[in-house]
């Protein structure tokens, strides 16, 4: 309820923010606070300093550059939901973002915060993985790019160094792809028990490319590669989709907790993958 006392700073540049992190290994970045503040209030974490990024202008906003969608890490979910460039170039992000939390959460929570928090039950990590997004991090040594596949390391753990900040996310254009974020949660506003982010590109009547990533099926978001391989190259009819979806839980290690037992999650992954692919493939 009452966090352990901490210092608070609100820099206006990424460089200043990184400098604070570099100087103090116990400092922690505050983005929208939708995950961090509950953790602090429950005293599950006790950072020395919170580095609030809200005043760092360069981290806000959406743009299109070199045919890619670039989303600033501090862009809120609500801003993404109302952005026509997101809707045009990566509608899967908009679809998944619409299921995040509730209206209040979406107005405070940020895209980059959600990815950096790397909760395997969060909606956006699996989406970033399915889209093969690139994470752009800034640290004392400058900028570096991290593919989404390398970014999510483990439960609440990313490839970011303690003194790095996720600055922006570059997302390849998937206009024209079929897509679906199929989320299953116990309540209207709740974490996913399991969710499936699916993208299907059709060409010449067949399935030319398939991307499936799973939320809450391991300690990090995972690609369902067996599903992707099984569906790509087929004609994408319901038989092919059902057969492919049967591979959805292969190689996963679903959690076993109050939100769902492992065997139930494995079952859900297969059902939801079939549904997601059915929508994404237009079958």
């Amino acid at each position: 309820m009452i966090p352990v006392a901490f210092e608070y700073t609100r820099p206006s540049t990424v460089e200043d923010a990184v400098a604070v992190l570099a100087a103090d290994p116990d400092a922690k970045v505050l983005a929208g606070g939708q995950s961090l503040l509950p953790v602090l209030r429950l005293r599950l974490a006790a950072p020395s300093t919170l580095v609030d990024l809200r005043d760092v202008e360069s981290l806000h906003g959406v743009r299109v550059a070199d045919g890619e969608l670039v989303i600033g890490a501090m862009t809120t979910h609500a801003e993404i939901l109302h952005d026509r460039r997101v809707a045009e170039h990566a509608p899967l992000i908009a679809a998944a973002t619409a299921t995040v939390g509730d209206r209040q959460v979406r107005h405070l929570g940020t895209f980059g915060g959600s990815l950096s928090h790397a909760d395997p039950a969060g909606d956006l990590p699996a989406v970033a993985l399915a889209l093969s997004a690139t994470m752009v991090a800034v640290g004392p040594g400058g900028r570096r790019e991290i593919p989404a596949a390398d970014f999510f390391v483990d439960y609440l753990t990313t490839a970011l160094a303690p003194d790095e900040i996720l600055a922006e996310v570059r997302v390849p254009d998937t206009a024209g792809w079929g897509y679906r974020y199929e989320k299953f949660s116990r309540m209207a506003q709740a974490w996913a028990v399991v969710a499936v982010a699916a993208l299907v590109r059709r060409a010449d009547g067949g399935v030319a490319d398939t991307r499936v990533a799973l939320t809450s099926m391991a300690s990090r978001p995972v690609r369902a590669t067996a599903v992707e391989q099984a569906l790509t190259g087929t004609d994408g009819d319901s038989g092919a989709i059902t057969a492919a979806a049967g591979h959805a839980d292969e190689g996963t290690e679903p959690p076993d907790d109050v939100n769902g037992a492992a065997d139930y999650r494995a079952h859900l992954a297969r059902v939801l993958t079939r549904r997601a692919l059915t929508a994404a493939a237009g079958a």
Partner: protein
């Protein structure tokens, strides 16, 4: 501007309470700021059972700390907490200290307290307390707790059994012998958490020189808090004033005397300063009483046509680690309600109360009756399925006919009035029962992955706890009366002082309507005073749907007394006989003499001035009434629920819900509908969503809103509500109660619907809550899958 309606009772008056509630002008206990206040924070055991050695000395050196104590430090100053309902002569009632002294017995049991200048300092200083925990064996499961050699929650008690209770009515052996149909089921009433919107909070302000105390507490029962603080502290009751200011929900969880109330009182007395403690949401999950938690073993015997011959009920009721105010009585409040609305030849009720290393249980909306209603309504559906009879028809074959009231049922309760036929007819019409059954048949035939289920609940419940004699005969230390005062002030405005203590129900509005009608004064001219033992000294507070059926009748009686006195005085002032006066619209008019009249406001001023009073009449226009209820009242109704069940994922969606309730005469239909809406939400929550779960070590794993999953509006359907009206015959207003009806009725309606959807797959029960996973698992198991 004040307005007058022709008839206040029956009008959907907007609630007087709401303007300040929705504009942030509430007085929650935690909002009250007194100079010099110090703040208490509690250290709670993270272990479910452990021997403890607590050293608080380091905490005393932390910034802002005023005092710090362990349970051992205060052992001589803190009395044990009360349990006021001795259910059997040989019950086991272990000592329950506000701070555990030698052993912590559930995760969340308070073991030390820090008092500091700010809440933050108090919380910070908890980290400096040194505790040695020596783990002791934990017992969480009731059946394991009863087994030989089980670890004991209370070693000194020598047993985990709190009490054993049994009653048999009629010839049970005869009823079961040769019965063509016998159905046995085990249902589990899962443990629930009340989740009141306002957590508990208490502030105690002493006047050391006078030895006086003012206590603000977020409680349903300010009068009992005063009584018990006096009894437990030795401070004269007359020097303790308890105020329940705005109280943000209770649902039974604030019908208790809590450790923190006695602790804050003791600390305020010791330190001579105001002491405040406010619960965190995490503490609300761990340390506020839980509800339900019963294992129900049932057997029903019936004739081949479904006529019920007998019912056998054996309960295990989880007390948790200690007895709170009414803990052992809660399952026994269901003792007489398992027969429901049905006639039968014989009935047995048995209950064993069991201690476990978990948070204590106590009242939770419905308190014993929802558990009973669930059991009998589920059994009626099972009986119907067994005999391939429509569940509504099965109920018709067994229920009490409307011409049979008053009806003394098998467990000895006399149901005052009811018309189950009328409520059921209205509900089936609103629901399109036949149409939905046809759709269900079609979907079954088509093997639709989303199946339709229809659930029935024809409930009754006992409201208005209770005649004092009835309570006394059952071991309760208190009574069931209620008090009211009605006074017309010199300006003609009216104050109604009530002994019930609202925490969201709308007493102020409802009682204003009752008084306005009785005295012929505008609704807006009536103020209702409550929740302060200095202003409303007599009362037994709010629980058990008693406020209108008992307290409302007391208000009405007091108003009638005022009216009688006013009439006598009016006749005196008009120099006519009382028989010549006609009272309407707030005026006493002389029959046949136009213009010769006195308004009640004029009479009130005359009573105040007292210049001319009849011989022997006391000045002022005021009257008290203390009402002893004649009996319970028995609301009833028919609830019908249609669910769609996704057989692939197990998800249950409520498609439609019709509730036709009969709560007797209705004072404010909007408030009644609000109570039904809230009650339905809470009952549906038990059916589909909520459960307090513990891991094997006794840690509550559903200790946040995220994990406990109470439903929001987005999780609930639009309800279709209607009423039939069969007045109660046990009180002159004809009113029954409505506070718990929705909760009692809805849980079985929903679960019956879920099971109905899945019956073709061989499912005969789904454990609550019917989460997608539980539904999927039930399907999986019924189809031979290992789950």
């Amino acid at each position: 501007m004040s307005t007058t309606q022709e008839q206040e009772v029956g009008a959907a008056r907007r609630r007087k309470e709401d303007a300040h509630l929705i504009t942030g002008q509430t007085t929650w206990t935690d909002n009250i700021q007194l100079p010099g206040t110090v703040h208490a924070a509690l250290l709670r055991s993270p272990m479910a059972h452990a021997r403890i050695r607590v050293d608080v000395s380091a905490a005393r050196d932390e910034p802002g700390v005023v005092a710090a104590y362990s349970g051992a430090d205060l052992a001589d100053e803190l009395a044990g907490l009360p349990s006021a309902w001795q259910v059997t002569p040989d019950w086991v009632a272990p000592e329950h200290k506000p701070l555990a002294v030698d052993e912590a017995r559930y995760a969340g049991d308070a073991i030390a307290v820090v008092v500091a200048d700010t809440r933050a300092h108090a919380v910070d200083a908890l980290d400096a307390i040194e505790v040695d925990y020596e783990p002791l064996p934990v017992v969480l499961d009731m059946e394991q707790a009863m087994a030989d050699g089980s670890p004991l929650v209370h070693t000194d008690a020598g047993t985990n059994v709190c009490f054993r209770y049994a009653d048999t009515f009629g010839d049970l052996d005869a009823a079961f012998a040769d019965a063509p149909v016998r159905i046995r089921r085990r249902f589990v009433q899962q443990r629930l958490v009340a989740c009141a919107m306002e957590p508990r909070s208490v502030l105690v302000a002493p006047v050391p020189a006078a030895g006086e105390y003012t206590v603000w507490s977020s409680t349903q029962i300010p009068h009992f808090v005063r009584l018990f603080l006096a009894m437990l502290s030795g401070v004269p009751e007359s020097r303790i004033r308890v105020i329940a200011p705005d109280v943000g929900g209770g649902f039974g969880s604030k019908l208790d005397i809590y450790a923190e109330e006695l602790l804050a009182f003791t600390l305020a007395k010791k330190l001579g300063r105001p002491v405040k403690w406010t619960e965190t949401r995490s503490e609300a999950f761990q340390a506020t009483v839980h509800g339900r938690d019963q294992i129900q073993d049932l057997e029903l015997a019936a004739d081949a046509d479904g006529r019920i011959r007998g019912l056998r009920v054996d309960l295990l009721a989880d007390m948790g680690a200690y007895l709170q105010l009414l803990t052992p009585a809660i399952p026994l409040l269901g003792r007489a309600m398992f027969p429901g609305i049905y006639k039968m030849d014989a009935y047995r009720f048995g209950c064993v109360g069991v201690f476990t290393d978990k948070t204590p249980t106590d009242a939770y909306r419905g308190a014993g009756r929802p558990e009973a209603t669930f059991a009998i309504e589920r059994m009626l559906d099972e009986l119907a399925a067994e005999l391939h009879v429509d569940p509504l028809e099965m109920r018709r074959r067994n229920w009490i006919g409307h011409e049979e009231f008053p009806y003394t049922q098998i467990a000895g309760l006399t149901y005052d009035s009811g018309n189950y036929e009328a409520a059921t007819a209205r509900a089936t019409e609103l629901f399109d029962y036949d149409g939905l059954r046809a759709e269900q048949a079609r979907r079954r035939e088509e093997h639709d992955p989303v199946q339709l289920g229809i659930g029935v609940s024809t409930y009754t419940e006992m409201c208005g706890l209770a005649p004092s004699r009835w309570l006394g005969e059952r071991g309760y230390a208190g009574g069931g009366w209620e008090a009211a005062t009605v006074r017309v002030l010199p300006t003609g405005k009216v104050e109604a002082v009530i002994g019930t203590s609202p925490h969201g129900q709308g007493h102020v509005t409802t009682f204003s309507q009752l008084v306005a009608d009785t005295l012929g004064v505008p609704f807006d001219d009536v103020e209702v005073i409550h929740g302060d033992t200095a202003a409303a000294p007599a009362g037994l507070d709010t629980y058990g749907s008693r406020s209108l059926a008992v307290g409302g009748v007391a208000v009405w009686r007091a108003a009638q007394r005022v009216l009688g006195k006013a009439k006598t005085l009016a006749a005196h002032l008009l120099e006519v006989s009382e028989d010549d006066l006609e009272f309407s619209g707030g005026n006493f008019a002389v029959r046949g003499t136009p213009g010769a009249a006195k308004s009640i406001q004029e009479v009130a001023f005359a009573a105040f001035a007292a210049h001319s009073m009849p011989d022997g009449m006391e000045p002022t226009l005021s009257a008290d009434f203390v009402l002893e209820p004649d009996d319970f009242s028995f609301p009833h109704g028919t609830h019908l629920c249609a669910v769609e069940v996704d057989t692939e994922t197990g998800r249950v969606e409520i498609r439609s819900y019709v509730a036709v309730d009969d709560v007797g005469k209705v004072v404010n239909p909007m408030i009644v509908e609000g109570q039904v809406h809230g009650g339905l939400a809470q009952g549906i929550a038990q059916a589909l969503h909520e459960v307090a779960r513990y891991d094997a070590d006794g840690n509550l794993t559903t200790g946040t809103m995220v994990d406990y999953t109470p439903p929001t509006a987005a999780d609930l359907p639009s309800f279709v509500l209607d009423r039939t009206e069969t007045p109660s015959t046990t009180n002159p207003l004809g009113v029954k109660g409505v506070g718990e009806a929705g909760t009692i009725a809805s849980t079985p309606a929903v679960v019956n619907a879920v099971v109905d959807a899945l019956r073709p797959f061989g499912v005969v029960d789904v454990p609550m809550p019917c989460t997608p996973e539980n539904v999927w698992r039930a399907l999986h198991e019924a189809q031979g899958g290992a789950a």
